[in-house]
Amino acid sequence: MAELTGTISYREAVAEGIAREMRRDPTVVCLGEDIGAAGGVFKTTQGLLEEFGAERVWDTPISEQAIVGAALGAAMTGIRPVAEIMFSDFLACCWDYLANEIPKVRYMSGGQVKVPLVIRTANGGGLGFGAQHSQAVENWALTIPGLKIAAPSTPADVIGLMAAAIRSDDPVIVFEHKGLFASRGPRPPEGHVVELGRAAVVREGRDVTVLALAATVPTALAAAERLAADHGVSAEVIDLRCLIPLDMTTVLESVARTSRLVTVEENPHQGGWGGTVVSLVVEEGFELLDAPVRRVASANVPLPFADVLENEVIPTVDRVVAAVRSVVDY
């Protein structure tokens, strides 16, 4: 398990965040492929089986429909399951549950049934896993009314958002980013909860608002440092942290200060979350803007395998710097 003080890695924070909730609520249970004895293929559930036993940490077959379908049935009948879908690409194997079952059970029953369900999954690219193990698919979930969507960028947020997701009586998908697992950050105190739907201003600035999520947050922060050092541009960086609920208040307040907006998304440009956020800014804050909005997103291609090719299509610091300069120089 993670050390008790100081810093904690993002990967350790996943297990720690789940463990904290399992300690306080005996109805929290985990299920998924390789999460028990193996400790998770990304080692994000290490220590859970040892601490909580096989009654609360269930290894499943490779059966994504059964994993999320059973988690849904359990959630409807008094349990708070935390289901792992190993790579977010595999959410497509249980798309029926994501699109048709989980988000609609409460609504189409007229509020008779609640669904306190968490689905966790390793999202995103940058590690050379190829096109079927590298996608950033938060935009898939964003198309479905009835799912809440969290995507933490720091170990503290992993723990805080996991707490909020597990305590929520609504279904929440937590996108953990593969590229962040090794990163470290301060270990939050016991009881740390990050409310769903509250963005964080992670760097204050005057000239431009840069919206980011999960792995694009460190990319945006690195770009902001370079913009300040090399170009004298003061960029404000906002970590959205959740896509649903969406914190438009923080976004619009920031744009009111900076009058310029760049979004940094890892999902493909087509259908990405930036399109939704930008449309709201244009509808509700058009007069706040002094320049066109720019979206930095992944290219509309499957992610290629070679590092140099993958790097060519996903958001990079260079691309963010160029986008920000284009709106600042407009």
């Binding site: 379908g69 849904l72 349990i79 409460r106 029953s109 007229g110 509020g111 739907g197």
Partner: protein, 336 residues
């Protein structure tokens, strides 16, 4: 057993069967009302009527406890009523009324009556089988001896979720009963013509090492006893059971289907084996006077007629209801 004990057992069995007969009659008449209301333009969307399947829902319910959980398909009117949902609330739901069992947000394909443990009707074929596995799993985790039942059609047996659910239920030895209502047709196509085995559910159970029974789904006593055996196994920790109940639907697949694809002699043979006819014969065999059976029919007719009247008179839903019940806070806000 003494003669008087035998007589008492027959009286008790007769009383239970008469109650089941009456519930089946309520379902039959509710389905007929739904059909008539559809023809009158008062039921919108679609309906998948379960007339002919009554013995499965009622027989199974008789073998279950009120706190057990059941999950059904889009053909779920009979299960909802068998679990205590009122015909009035069901018909009001079909007629898009505020008093509908799901506040007019579910419709015919999504009837849910959580108070009676009826945790929903699901319109994506096979999707609810893993959900029943999950409900059985939660019963174990919560240390209750509740069981979960999934009712599904023959068509669901060729869906991946069926196989994933069976495997997981058996591997975890969960208290779940899978009940296949094999009415011989998926939608319009005979299940036999597209399935590699004769009995689409029953023949697959051995592949999962699962206990299975192949039964007459039109005899309410046969269904009750089979589900009672499966429920007892489940509660005793002996794992899941798969029951394939052969039955027949009286109407087509859905509202627009006259079911012309079914051979006339096949339809005739099955209509002779109507679950209500079979139950009547059994009641007579138990010495229940015909007048009492007719009285049960009369009560069922009265209940459904009153339900139709009340549902017709109910108001439409308040427009604000479109924006309630998405989230646990009651609302549907997705942003601030």
């Amino acid at each position: 057993m003494s003669q008087s004990a035998v007589r008492e057992a027959m009286v008790n069995e007769g009383a239970e069967l008469l109650a089941m007969y009456e519930r089946m009659a309520v379902i039959r008449r509710t389905e007929k009302a739904a059909y008539d209301l559809f023809l009158a333009g008062l039921v919108k969307g679609t309906t998948h009527l379960a007339a002919g399947h009554e013995a499965i829902a009622v027989g199974a319910s008789a073998a279950l406890r009120p706190d057990d959980h059941v999950f059904a398909t889009y053909r779920g009117h009979h299960h909802t009523i068998a679990r205590g949902g009122s015909p009035e609330a069901c018909l009001a739901e079909l007629m898009q009324k505020a008093t509908g069992i799901c506040k007019a947000k579910g419709g015919s394909m999504h009837l849910t009556y959580a108070e009676g443990g009826m945790l929903g009707s699901y319109a994506i074929v096979g999707a609810h089988l893993p959900m029943a596995v999950g409900a059985a799993w939660s019963a174990r985790l919560l240390r209750t001896d509740r069981i979960a039942v999934a009712f599904f059609g023959d068509g669901a047996t060729n869906i991946g979720a069926f196989h994933e659910a069976l495997n997981l239920a058996q591997v975890w030895r969960l208290p779940v009963v899978f009940v296949c209502e094999n009415n011989l047709y998926m939608e319009y196509t005979p299940i036999r013509s597209v399935t590699a085995v004769e009995n689409p559910a029953y023949d697959r159970a051995p592949a999962y090492g699962m206990a299975a029974e192949l039964i007459d789904g039109n005899d309410v006593i046969v269904v009750r006893d089979a589900v009672a055996r499966a429920a007892a196994r489940a509660r005793a920790g002996e794992g899941p059971t798969l029951i394939e109940a052969k039955t027949y639907r009286h109407y087509g697949h859905s509202r627009t289907d006259p079911a012309k694809y079914r051979p006339a002699e096949e339809v005739e043979a099955w209509l002779k084996r109507d679950p209500l006819t079979i139950a009547r014969a059994r009641l007579a065999g138990l010495g229940v006077p015909e007048a009492e059976i007719d009285e049960a029919d009369r009560r069922a007719a009265e209940l459904v007629e009153a339900a139709v009247r009340a549902a017709k008179q109910a108001p439409p839903p308040d427009l604000a209801e479109a924006f309630t019940d998405l989230w646990a806070d009651g609302g549907a806000a997705w942003r601030n």
